[in-house]
Symmetry: C2
Subunit: 160 residues, 2 copies
DNA sequence: TCGAATCTCTCGACGTATCGAATTATTTGC
DNA sequence: GCAAATAATTCGATACGTCGAGAGATTCGA
């Protein structure tokens, strides 16, 4: 093996260690946010899912979270009481309830990541445009990999 | 503003969006791992902490988690039953109980991140050594930023 | 050596999240 | 129109995690 390949191998190892640290730290950060607002991880997950689907109903939330409909009712009570979502009856079918985000979750995330951005500004300043592009490309690849690996962890199909 | 600066600004915005996606995904991955082994987030947190301290005792775990000693006893029961840790009495002071990792947690993480590595191999192959170095540097910076921002979220001091 | 201090565990109680079954309100199909 | 189907909620039961008080074992200090 050439000297270059050896150095590459070391870098890849370092990279993997960094990824693990980052994953662990990400969990701690989210847990800290959840604690701050008195939410549990189920609630947080529901909030994230609510962000993705535009016309989310309570029943649909039960489907994608795997909870019973009664559990979802209790969950929505908690989220509504904490000011993260609102219930809004569907005018077209008044049995149904839309779950709409109040934007508070987004606000909080923006605040947190704003703090992080400040810390990272110094780092990004050291990068020329090309390096910045590498960082963007790499991060996108990490996200894709994380998405692809999910079904193998849960043992379920990707979409339900 | 020059054309170059404008492009930079866009890249930074994209980067921030990617960071948020990654954080959300990291939580989902860890949650999935926890579910798979019947652990809750408190248990996972304790496992992470156990990895850091070499001679961890039950009492010390109560301190750093903020749980009561009885809660820690129950927590250790769960972790021990699931095969993640072992209790080992301190020969020097037989009142105390050391919490030692069986390595199962490490194993599982290695397996998960191994799956991710496979997915990422194609991406890394596209990088020359210099780009790889950029990825490593950047990831390190993200981790540092996440670490620094924690106390501002929790409102507590960094170390206790 | 003997009492106080320390470390962990046990026990009983409490809060909370979840479930299944029954309930209410509304829509759909005949 | 009226019965069946559907959406969400309420209610009672259950499981689980946590706490506080106290017990048991061990060590420390006079």
């Amino acid at each position: 093996m050439s000297r270059t390949s050896k150095r590459r191998g070391e870098l890849v190892d370092v990279l993997e260690g960094l990824l693990r640290d980052m994953a662990a730290r990400g969990v701690l950060v989210h847990q800290a946010i959840a604690d701050r607002f008195g939410l549990n991880s189920t609630d947080l997950k529901a909030l994230d899912l609510a962000r993705g689907e535009p016309n989310l109903t309570a029943g649909r939330l039960a489907e994608i979270t795997g909870l019973s409909t009664s559990a979802v009712t209790a969950l929505l009570d908690r989220l509504e009481r904490a000011g993260f979502v609102e219930r809004r009856r569907d005018p077209a079918d008044r049995r149904r309830v839309f779950v709409v985000s109040t934007g508070r979750h987004e606000e909080e995330l923006t605040r947190i990541f704003g703090l992080m951005s400040e810390r990272m500004r110094d780092v990004l300043r050291r990068y020329d445009d090309e390096r910045l592009a590498v960082a963007v490309d790499f991060l996108g690849a990490v996200n894709d990999a994380a998405r692809d690996v999910m079904p193998e962890i849960t043992g379920r199909e990707p979409a339900e």
